[in-house]
């Protein structure tokens, strides 16, 4: 998969770029529509599902920051999602701080963990990079499993408090709106990074690392910073996920969790940023619907959907939509 996905990562279609050529009115209309859907979501879906979508959206966007904009396929991002989930839970349990503070602390722990892992991983590219990240994630998984005193082992971390200035957030419906600012902050950060001078360098490194080095860019260090930033955003998602479920299990560190985030990005479109949000919404909703209807082979359906999207919409759902819109506008 890595070779194919990396090929595609070279030409990111951008809905934003398509829209940038569109009349100003249309741009604002699209943004308003996105905001309206976001605000309406817990009314149309189970609020708990809507909250899960928010968390996974952050995770997918973080993975796309690396895959789509730096050309690095991380297959071990569960290490950061899960580590932040545990760290957030522990901070909430022991410090009793407002939940956004606990989430922020969790994300910082994830970013700190990403520094040494990234330092070693960015020395490799392509499938070897994916392997190194996977290996470290497996290591974290086993450490978490063995440190039962800290993580609760297979029982997980139980009864994580969800505190925000004494507000009653037990209902997922209200928690959704309380979590939304953290999510929007994380998504905005990803957008800011991609459209910064740093983001411009990342795209240069992705497309032609040798030339970037000849221009004086220390490619490893740039990749490392991208890796740490990506881990931070994934950590925001993981921390919120811990708050959303009020317990943390080893699943958050499992390699299938890393894989799920990559699938979301591919579904939405690599290098589209918001495609990850779409992929997360689709996959979370679908999995919930399948498990609710008592269907056993969830993986079969999501796997099938994955294959169809990869074959039919080669640039992912968002990327294909961007292409269509661009063609319409250019006519």
């Amino acid at each position: 998969m890595s070779v194919a996905t990396q090929e595609k990562a070279k030409r990111p279609p951008s809905l934003l770029r398509a829209v940038a050529g569109a009349p100003r009115g249309l741009r604002w209309a699209l943004l308003a529509a996105a905001l309206a859907v976001t605000l309406w979501l817990p009314n149309g879906l189970y609020p708990a599902v809507a909250v899960d979508i928010l968390c996974w959206a952050l995770f997918a966007v973080a993975v796309d920051l690396l895959l789509g904009y730096t050309g690095l396929l991380s297959f071990g991002h569960a290490a950061f999602w899960g580590t932040s989930a545990y760290a957030t839970g522990l901070v909430a349990i022991h410090a009793g701080v407002p939940f956004p503070v606990a989430v922020l602390a969790g994300a910082l722990v994830a970013a700190a963990l990403a520094a040494p892992i990234g330092y070693l991983a960015v020395r490799r590219t392509g499938i070897y990079f994916a392997m190194v990240t996977l290996a470290f994630a497996q290591m974290i998984y086993y450490i978490a499993n063995n440190r039962r005193g800290l993580t609760g082992g297979e029982n997980g971390l139980q009864s994580v408090p969800r505190e925000l200035f004494g507000l009653d957030l037990t209902d997922a419906y209200y928690f959704y709106y309380a979590a939304l600012p953290v999510v929007l902050l994380g998504l905005w950060a990803a957008w800011r990074i991609v459209h910064s001078p740093f983001g411009r360098v990342l795209v240069g490194i992705r497309d032609n690392p040798a030339r970037a080095r000849a221009l004086g860019y220390p490619v490893h260090r740039y990749k490392l910073l991208a890796f740490v930033l990506s881990a931070f955003i994934a950590g925001l998602g993981g921390g919120l996920f811990a708050m959303a479920h009020r317990f943390v299990t080893l699943d958050t560190l499992h390699w299938t969790t890393s894989g799920k985030a990559v699938v979301m990005v591919v579904l939405g479109g690599i290098g589209t940023l918001w495609g990850g949000v779409l992929g997360a919404a689709l996959l979370v909703r679908l999995e919930d619907w399948l498990s609710f209807s008592g269907f056993e082979a969830v993986g079969l359906v999501t796997g099938g959907l994955f294959i169809v999207v990869v074959l039919v919409f080669r640039r992912g759902l968002w990327g294909t939509a961007a292409d269509l819109l661009r063609r319409r506008l250019n006519r």
Binding site: K10, H195, S196, P197, R200, G204, A210, L215, V219
Partner: protein, 252 residues
């Protein structure tokens, strides 16, 4: 004689038992244009890759302005004021010509690290970028994606990228390769203009270009220095004529 800014001592590079660069001693004097000629496969590009850190030497040393840079990575060498162009055009397919030059200009500062700022900040390089684009004859094509440029214009952009670094030492690997006559003339004029205050090392097959630009010439053959000296001397050297320049150049 002027001081030496770029020197190699017994520089050697092996590829799995094949010696592509074989004990090369090179001394490039400050402010000169130094041509590197030799048949295909002589090791010229490999030598450039060694000088710029893209390959590690199997033996020998490299000095820039008296400082040992052997084994430094490419980005460090670039930061020391040694810029190169690539024989095989090496661009960023997604970026426009102006974005290329902006990226090259941005590399010298710390702006590249600012992930919390807007890319609009790169606008501060715009005037300088347009100047460089005009210099290489790309002023009309700043918005064009690099992919869409015709071959000769891509070569020009390749040059603009190296120039954007404002290097003390400029290494040009066959800058006129595959160009039409008009573009060759334009490139010669350009190198002549930008050489002021710099040292230029030029790999070039076109002997008339070498004659017009080079102060000194080093002839490489099979990885070794065959001859070294002022253009007219080297041109008249028996060994060089039989080995490389041959009848074709004597006639032209």
């Amino acid at each position: 004689m002027a001081e030496t800014v770029l020197a190699t001592h017994a520089l050697t590079r092996d590829f799995r038992g094949f010696r592509a660069v074989d004990g090369v001693d090179l001394a490039v004097a400050a402010g000169t244009v130094h041509a590197l000629v030799g048949p295909n496969g002589a090791g010229k590009t490999t030598l450039f890759n060694l000088l710029t850190g893209f390959l590690k030497p199997s033996g020998g040393r490299i000095e820039v302005a008296g400082r040992d840079i052997t084994g430094l990575p490419p980005e460090r060498i670039a930061a020391l004021g040694v810029a190169r162009s690539f024989q095989i055009t090496s661009l960023f397919p997604m970026l426009s010509a102006r974005e290329h030059v902006e990226l090259a200009l941005q590399g010298r500062g710390t702006l590249g690290w600012r992930f919390w700022r807007s890319a609009k900040l790169l606008g501060r390089y715009r005037a300088r970028a347009d100047e460089l684009l005009a210099m290489v004859g790309l002023d009309e094509l700043g918005e064009a994606p690099a992919n869409a440029l015709p071959y000769g214009r891509k070569r020009a952009l390749e040059l603009a990228l190296a120039l954007a670094l404002d290097p003390d030492v400029l290494l040009l690997d066959e800058p006129t390769a595959g160009m039409g006559l008009e573009d060759v003339d334009r490139t010669v004029d350009l190198v002549d203009r930008v050489r002021a205050g710099r040292t230029v090392v030029l790999v070039e097959h076109n002997m008339s270009v070498v004659g017009r630009l080079a102060d000194r010439v080093t002839v490489l053959q099979a990885g070794r220095v065959l001859a070294e000296g002022p253009y007219d001397e080297v041109r008249a050297d028996e060994r060089v004529i039989t080995a490389y320049l041959g009848a074709a150049d004597a006639a032209g």
